[in-house]
Symmetry: none
Subunit: 210 residues, 4 copies
């Protein structure tokens, strides 16, 4: 039994409304991308009239950018490397990979929207795209740092190549799961990925020493 919708004429509450709009927008834009996200659809999903959305956000571009911005921190948090005492380097890397995978399974909308934005090449680049790419660069930097610290002896170029490869694998596995659904065990695949990249890294470092 849901509460009766008497809250219609509600005491104006900006913060909550903003959240409701964003909640609706993440879901829709995560499913349909930028163009596919119509303001009326968001309006219907959050229960506020379209014109109210424009009180909180300058325009559609601003709304989508806000959607990306809000998921920002949650997303980056998954990239935190556990303590040194928590295990071997490989175990620690694998743990991070597993965490990222789990966060993607729980809240795939962020990356789904982000990737759609990233792939599109429209005349006027949406601000959301820019923001997404920035967040992504931060994540990338974290990975590069992990690689350099956990596998000593890697030269800068190798670190960059491995990072690119690591990120690519993550994106690709995510896409795979989006396409094939639960048939893909994302956590397992991410852990495998982490291991393969780790192996490759240690071999690269060894080859260099020689």
């Amino acid at each position: 039994m849901t509460k009766p919708q008497t809250t219609r004429k509600k005491r104006a509450n900006g913060v909550e409304s903003r959240q409701r709009i964003l909640d609706a927008a993440v879901e829709i834009s995560g499913e349909r991308g930028y163009e596919g996200t119509s303001i009326v659809a968001v309006s219907a999903a959050c229960g506020l009239p379209a014109s109210s959305i424009y009180w909180h956000f300058k325009d559609k571009d601003d709304l989508i950018a806000a959607v990306i911005e809000r998921s920002f921190d949650t997303w980056l948090a998954a990239f935190e490397l556990p303590d040194e005492e928590s295990g071997t380097p490989l175990e620690r890397v694998t743990a991070v990979a597993g965490n990222v995978a789990k966060s993607l399974v729980d809240a795939p909308d962020f990356l789904r929207l982000g990737l759609m934005l990233a792939l599109e090449r429209r005349p006027a680049e949406p601000r959301g795209r820019t923001v997404f790419l920035q967040v992504r660069d931060i994540a990338r930097a974290k990975i590069a740092e992990m690689a350099a610290s956990l596998v000593p002896g890697l030269d800068e170029e190798s670190v960059q190549i491995l990072t690119t490869y690591a990120v690519a694998g993550a994106d690709g596995l995510f896409v795979q799961r989006e396409i094939n659904g639960d048939a893909v065990d994302l956590v397992a695949m991410f852990e495998l990925h982490a291991q393969l990249v780790y192996d490759a890294a240690t071999r690269m470092a060894a080859r260099r020493k020689a």
Copy 2:
């Protein structure tokens, strides 16, 4: 009496018009996705009136599907494994990877559109998406076959996992290049990817034998 040469630009040529429409449509849909591809935009890009597009294609869905279908063969051709005499298994796998990478650099629109279609979750699934996923499954089967034939001793599950991983890496690297442009050497990264997967495969096979 032959009909006088009126101001008709050219004697109507169905085949050529169809090509022109498709050329415009690949480009636009490859840049903007399904929703972002408006018939007017395609019309403007190909120089034919919108109504003419409807003479050649039933509707927008049909047009986008045709775009995918046309790139179909070109795309699959890149997956052909070279002759046995042409080198070691690793060399052969690497060659395939290089070919696929090259075809992606030359004509990225197909995969860009495909991935956008794949990521979107719209109420009525576009036919183009279905077709893309089918082509993708064929490509996947070819890769699985390669794995099984070049690395004997792999059990079916390992083949599937490796194939998933191989495809994911390819998608991810492609995305990477779409984002970072020429800074990413797609051919080199694909070759590295091929090698890592090949190594992983042989190790898996070895472990199993033991």
Copy 3:
């Protein structure tokens, strides 16, 4: 008894539709100015859906500009000076003034819209304004030419001052009539205006000779 509206689904007739749209647009924009002219209102007045208006005109700006352009010739025609044999210079000038006045009484929309456009200072100048000011400059040149040819001995500066004054009087009298309606005998006032300007001109010329 008007013909029954069976012409609903009419054989597409671009030229006629364009005229109907323009007819509606002159009237509305002549009464309400640029901002006051809504496309829906034009649509309602001409019987074509709003989207059809966009088939014929790029946007509202284009429509308003076309309104001005269409009245262009009619308007300038009134400025033709009659033959030399038709009377004394004063009589000929007075005749022109009368003609202009009559054309303004018959079709005041052109000048009403034009003046509103001219007075407005909006960030993005409407193209219609530009066009109106150009037409106005042509009319101005014709008047200057008349002055110079009918009142010999006027120096260039005097011609310019008199022309400015002549045009100003015409605009002002028109405004007067718009405000007070038929209470103002526009033709009589224009003729008086012509005479006063003519007198001033001859006096200026005389003073100069002295």
Copy 4:
């Protein structure tokens, strides 16, 4: 215990706020006319939220009317005829014309808005229009009085015609200057206008006596 000085920008000052709103409104409405003046634009220009505008003014119509009303006195003051001792009738008339011209150069917004309101014919006549036309009638009466007192012997009809002509010239010259900017020396043209009308008046009076 006095209330703590919270973050209120200033202690609310009704009179000043009202002024700020009106200042913004004159400028915007003087540039864009009735329809072109949006409450949001006024709000942005004066720095007060839109809802505050509604605290001071009933609605948009009321705001525009207030704009006209405020300029009211300033405007009419320019029409005061100087003392008899200050010169010949022509000199005195010329002085008034110069004053009016100067006030128009300094604050053109009032007349610009007024003329736009006067030209428009909208279903519900804005109150601002009514007010403007009333002020205008007062000015007109002053001119008529001047004519009758300075040029004795004019019959009522002539006074009316001359007044109409005088006002028309003023409006027209103002429009001219709005279009051509500083290229038009408004004061000089107004003085010329005064002289021409004065001449015409004396000639009319003379002809009548004869």
